[in-house]
């Protein structure tokens, strides 16, 4: 606890005012509105609304389209989070073995961090575009049917690849930092005991990396759930059919394109609950990390 502070009483409020004003106007007020609308039903002209309790939620949760979006989101998020974590961990472990050129590799690895998700999606669509994509071309030569603009599975593969690609940099930097923090003496001890490198990795390194991995798992899940909206919107528009329609894309589509307010608000509230759960989970691990440090 700080003993010395400035005695001013008004100044701190002035310093806090801009941030508090923005959070109240653009965060708390709209969030409260989302809660309010989620239990109301508006008449078609938007003139009056009646309290309907949880009816909007029941409707949303029994809507096959919503359940489809939920399933798409779960599949998409799992593939992206595990793919990006596995590739980044593998590369970080390789980078640890290298002495000369480490800095060069790191510089080359961080580029995708700076690329907007929507652009990452477009880059992958350029390469795998069925009509002129350079990497779709060999697929066609081999007789493989490939058309992400028409086939749902292909579209999913494309957005997963783009989303994973973009997240590798971020995970790589954290895994490299995590690996560097592991005491070398532990690995030497394992080697003296005759453990093979592979055995030492799974029994010594991987468990010690667990805090980093759990942290990244949450961050990657949040990324896959929310930040990938741009990829879906720019590349597939949720299609073909509804094969790549994620929860966030559906909220946007229902609230903005189809203008179904009650449903959209109920969907927002469900998403809010998901974020709150994930954030709470994340901070439990941060508390734990402190003891490792």
């Amino acid at each position: 606890m700080r003993r010395t502070v400035f005695p001013h009483k008004v100044l701190p409020w002035l310093l806090l005012a801009p941030q508090l004003a923005i959070t109240l106007i653009f965060f708390y007020w709209p969030a409260a509105q989302a809660f309010r609308q989620s239990v109301l039903k508006e008449d078609p002209f938007g003139l009056s609304s009646t309290f309907v309790g949880l009816a909007n939620f029941r409707k949303v949760l029994s809507d096959p389209n919503y359940l489809n979006a939920l399933q798409v989101t779960v599949v998409f998020s799992l593939l992206v989070a595990f793919g990006a974590l596995a590739i980044a961990l593998f590369l970080a472990v390789q980078a640890e073995k290298i002495i000369r050129g480490k800095g060069f590799y790191r510089t080359m690895m961080i580029w995708p961090y700076a690329v907007a998700p929507a652009i990452a999606g477009m880059l992958w669509l350029f390469m795998f575009n069925p009509s002129f994509g350079t990497l779709a071309w060999p697929l066609r030569q081999l007789g493989i049917q490939w058309n992400p603009l028409l086939d749902g599975g292909d579209a999913m593969a494309l957005v997963v690849a783009a989303a994973t690609w973009k997240q590798i940099s971020y995970n790589f930097l954290f895994f490299v930092a995590g690996l560097q923090a592991i005491p070398k003496s532990l690995l030497e001890a394992a080697a003296i005991d005759g453990a093979s490198r592979r055995h030492a990795f799974w029994t010594v390194v991987f468990p010690l990396l667990a805090p980093t991995t759990f942290f990244l798992l949450v961050v990657n899940t949040v990324y896959a759930l929310f930040d990938t909206f741009g990829i879906i919107h720019a590349v597939t528009g949720g299609g073909p059919g509804k094969a790549t329609e994620t929860l966030v894309y559906k909220v946007y589509n229902d609230g903005f394109v189809n203008l179904i307010m009650g449903d959209s608000a109920a969907q927002s509230v469900i998403l809010m609950v998901i974020v709150i759960a994930l954030t709470a989970f994340q901070f439990r691990f941060i508390e734990r990390r402190v003891h490792y440090a």
Binding site: Q19, I119, L123, H233, F256, I276
Partner: protein, 281 residues
Amino acid sequence: MAARGLARTMAHFWMILGVIIVAFPIYYVFIASTHSVQTILRPPLPLLPGPEAVANYTEAFTGGVGRIGGVSLWLLLGNTTIIALGIAIGKIVISMASAYAIVFFRFPFRMACFWLIFITLMLPVEVRIQPTYKVMVDLGLIDTYAGLILPLIASATATLLFRQFFMTIPDELLEAARVDGAGPWRFFKDILWPLSLTNVAAIFVIQFIYGWTQYLWPLLVTNSNEMNTIVIALKKMISFADADTPWNLVMVTSVLAILPPILVVVLMQRWFVKGLVETEK
């Protein structure tokens, strides 16, 4: 633990493969931006730069992009720069001010204010799209720079970071400054700010990238093409069904949408990596 011989050669092999996968899409779009539309549309694309670089870039900058996107490339780059800088600087200013108030003053509801800011972490734009849009309409902020910047400058993470950092400043430093008659502004300007520079640089890079790569928010609050960011404009330029899309100009625009944030990250790598890994864990 550094490996020997074969293991190290294999490690280089995997890293080179990794770098190729990571860098290839960016290299590919750069190469495509130096070829004519005809070459781009006839796969496979050559792996080396083509002869049309000067022609493509000149056309893109002198009105070519304006014909397909409605707005010149200069305006798109200008808009995106204003938004990215506005968000990065705005976040740093208001979160430093908040953290300063919370750490160096005592007043009622101090921790309540801190939690109020902290909980915004759990309320990303995506979960309150529609009502936030309504607020923007009511305040007349659609199609304005203020509308694009202001709602995005509240920052729980930056406030948290500055608070943590300010709490490590020894009491004696503040005592000494007060004995010498320094008020809050002098203390901040002469002591705290110089000590915070590394953190400020790290947050600047992370938030500049955040601002540059925004998608959902600009999509919601802009209707007019004049207010487009380069990312949104790029999306509007592309039609995969339409044979008339001038792909050479699309590729040039992609390169210019990617290049500035990559330069910022690569040139400020030292602060960026430190800031990212140390602040977000």
